[in-house]
């Protein structure tokens, strides 16, 4: 079968660039180092530390989704972005829902068990 899009055309379709990978890599490295540093040096402890780590991990994930996985950069209609957003929605429902339900059930289990 002859190619419907030539190699050159698909090579142009892929959105990677040195700039994007540099930003993604260095950014992720910095966030990672910061996270480990915060825990090891005990600059923060307890709940503030947990929230900060959560925020850092979330930001790093978004960084990698944007600069490595090119979320949002596909041509219109942006189906990948829509699917990603819906996945996040379902994820939140499942995770938060499960945590709520299981926590609630646990509260109602007798003390000492």
């Amino acid at each position: 079968m002859h190619d419907e899009m030539s190699l050159k055309e698909i090579q142009k379709e892929w959105h990677g660039s040195y700039r994007a990978y540099a930003i993604g890599f260095i950014g992720s490295l910095l966030f990672t180092l910061l996270s480990f540093f915060l825990v090891l040096s005990q600059t923060l402890i307890g709940a503030p530390l947990v929230y900060t780590l959560s925020g850092l991990s979330l930001t790093q994930a978004i960084l990698q989704f944007v600069f490595f996985l090119h979320v949002g950069q596909e041509p219109k209609p942006k189906w990948e972005t829509v699917l990603f957003a819906f996945m996040i929605l379902v994820l939140l429902i499942i995770v938060l829902g499960t945590l709520w339900i299981m926590h609630d059930l646990n509260d109602r289990v007798m003390v000492g068990m």
Binding site: V90, I93, I101
Partner: protein, 650 residues
């Protein structure tokens, strides 16, 4: 060498031996008949290795109907048992066998009949209605089907070799765990559901990409037929809910095979976590089944009312809302299992909300018929039966959505009556309507309408007799899955009525079965042509049965109900020149992957680990081989297409 498989696995109680014998004989009869007709090469070349969604769709439905026979046999056994087993009479089935029967019944009906029918119709109808020649990933399509068929085969094997699970169709922990059910039954269940689930997920991805990306020019979202909208919503549910099932089954597998403690009663495990996760999948699953049925009625009702669908936009929004809401109601399946009033109340309210868009849909169908010219064909009869039974089932659903009520009737026969109203009254009646409606498109001839009507009345009366008394029995305290009850309960007369209803349904199903062969025999007299119903959508614009390429010229649309527009002279559907058509070549690899998956599941069930490893590696090898080869396509030149079209027209 053979794991824990011994000769004893082949020995069963007399009733089960009888079932195995019947199944083996009918299987051999079919194989013998095909051999006698010398049709193996034809079947292999034209069907088993086909990547044509029209063929794959028919195969899905064939498997689903075969599985229906098995699931319905289970139902009849249960009905017979409960009609007799009162007081001193112990009935025809032992308690253990009864448990296998109701577990097999549910598993078969949901995963193999329900999903089979849904994916069968997706394959047949979606590409045609969006003006496409194929689905997005033809190879993935055949893999998805054969995984489904392989898993279905495992259910058949489980009847003959060893025992099936006794833990119900959802295998609640800790009963399904190693401590309480160490045998092969639950493992059979795990592998057949897991393999079928992977197939469903792959097919879900396939159809979602197809609908998003392969619509013909001019078919924007709000110009798609509602059946395609229902397919879109259903496939979104498949893609986003099945992963939960996959992960949960993996964890149960870890518990059973590696001694882990996810859902065990000891070791820190949490059985309620299983129930929570399995229903987080399980509720979207039932909407996966019902949304396409809604879509079917949105096609059938306007056509047989000679009037366009009332409230198209609200129908679309209703589908989207139902799909979204189906993700946030799952706790209503376990109101009674310990959650606080606040949690129960939240999920109760969410559940009640689903009634609203569902009601909108039912009213829209009824308004479609208002001032239309209604044809009382059998699909329309199925629609009326749907409105009656699904609405009653839906209203009892609203009753159940109230936790205080649910505390009284949870896991009673009231619940069983409710969900059978939805699945039979909704999905099955919808499928029967769609099957009758689209049968002429794929075969070129009608199903005998008189036989359809006899079957319909048997089904409707049978269903009412078989399930309305269950509501009463539920109120009277009868729980589900009972193989025996005390005579003092006074339930037996109702159980006898219910059994009679089941027999009536059997008669209806037999008439349908006979009617199929009768119609094939008389197909010349029942010839239908390309557009027997004055259809509105694109599938009626091409010959019956459709050419392999569906559309010689990709259609262009600019409004809803494009075929009616064309007939009114408002639209020229096929205004492009003929072009070369590329079609993907057939491949046996889908079948091989399905067969190897079945072997894998069987080997894992019986702990024949060398065979499991071999099958797994062979599956990888198949995938590698497939991805190393060149994309094979057959080309039909434009001139040839033109000749083929001319031949169809004459």
């Amino acid at each position: 060498m053979l794991g824990r498989l011994t000769f004893e696995a082949f020995l069963h109680e007399p009733s089960q031996n009888f079932a195995v014998l019947m199944m083996t004989l009918s299987g051999l009869a079919i194989l013998g008949w095909i051999t006698y007709l010398r049709k193996w090469k034809y079947l292999w070349d034209e069907w088993f290795t086909s990547v044509d969604p029209k063929r794959i769709g028919i195969m899905y439905i064939v498997v689903a109907l075969l599985m229906f026979m098995k699931g319905f046999a289970d139902a009849l056994m249960m009905r017979l048992q409960q009609a007799f087993a009162s007081g001193d009479v112990s009935g025809i089935l032992s308690a253990g066998h009864f448990q296998e029967v109701f577990s097999a019944h549910g598993t078969t009906m949901i995963f193999f009949v329900g999903m089979g029918v849904v994916f069968g119709l997706m394959n047949l109808i979606v590409p045609l209605q969006i003006g496409a020649r194929d689905v997005a990933f033809p190879f993935l399509n055949t893999v998805g089907f054969w995984l489904f068929a392989g898993a279905a085969n495992l259910t058949v094997i489980s009847l003959a070799i060893g025992h099936f699970s006794t833990a119900g169709w959802l295998a609640y922990a800790p009963l399904s765990g190693l401590e309480y059910n160490p045998g092969e039954g639950v493992d059979y269940w795990i592998w057949m559901v897991q393999i079928a689930g992977v197939g469903s997920t792959l097919s879900g991805i396939n159809f979602l990409v197809t609908i998003l990306k392969m619509r013909c020019p001019g078919m924007t979202f709000m110009k798609m037929p509602i059946f395609v909208w229902s397919a879109l919503c259903s496939m979104v549910l498949v893609v986003f809910a099945f992963p939960i099932l996959t992960a949960t089954l993996v964890m149960l597998t870890m518990d059973r095979y590696l001694g882990m403690h996810f859902f065990t009663a000891g070791g820190g495990g949490n059985p309620m976590l299983y129930i929570n996760l399995i229903w987080a999948w399980g509720h979207p699953e039932v909407y996966i089944l019902i949304l396409p049925a809604f879509g079917i009625f949105s096609e059938v009702v306007p056509t047989f009312s000679e009037k366009r669908l009332f409230g198209y936009t609200s129908m679309v929004w209703a589908l989207i809302l139902i799909a979204f809401l189906s993700f946030i109601v799952w706790l209503h399946h376990f109101f009674t299992m310990g959650a606080s009033p606040l949690v129960n109340a939240f999920f109760a309210v969410m559940t009640m909300l689903i009634a609203i868009p569902t009601g909108v849909k039912i009213f829209n169908w009824l308004f479609t018929k208002f001032r239309g010219r209604v044809h009382f064909t059998s699909p329309m009869l199925w629609f009326f039966a749907f409105v009656l039974n699904f609405s009653v089932g839906g209203m009892t659903g609203i009753l159940l959505s109230s936790p205080p009520v649910d505390f009284q009737v949870h896991n009673s026969l009231f619940l069983i009556a409710h969900f059978h109203g939805m699945v039979i009254g909704g999905l099955l009646f919808g499928f029967f309507a769609g099957f009758t409606y689209w049968f002429p498109k794929f075969t070129g001839f009608f199903l005998d309408e008189q036989l359809n009507r006899y079957a319909f009345w048997c089904w409707l009366t049978g269903f009412l007799l078989a399930f309305m008394p269950l509501y009463m029995l539920g109120f009277m305290g009868a729980t589900r899955r009972l193989d025996h009850y005390e005579a003092a309960t006074g339930w037996q007369p109702l159980f006898v009525i219910v059994a009679i209803g089941a027999v009536l349904i059997l008669i209806g199903a037999l008439i349908q079965f006979f009617g199929l062969f009768w119609s094939i025999r008389n197909r010349k007299k029942l010839w239908a042509g390309s557009d027997p119903w004055n259809g509105r959508t694109l599938e009626w614009a091409i010959p019956s049965p459709p050419p392999i390429y569906n559309f010689a010229i990709v259609p262009t649309v600019d409004q809803l109900d494009p075929l009616w527009a064309m007939k009114r002279g408002q639209l020229n559907l096929f205004n492009q020149p003929y072009e070369d058509i590329h079609l993907p070549k057939n491949t046996p690899i889908g079948l091989m992957i399905g067969f190897l998956s079945m072997t894998f599941g069987f080997a894992m069930t019986w702990h024949i680990y060398w065979l499991a490893l071999l099958s797994f590696l062979a599956i990888i090898a198949c995938i590698v081989i497939r991805c190393s080869g060149k994309d094979e396509h057959a080309i039909i030149p434009a001139a040839e297409v033109k000749k083929m079209e001319a031949a169809y027209k004459s």
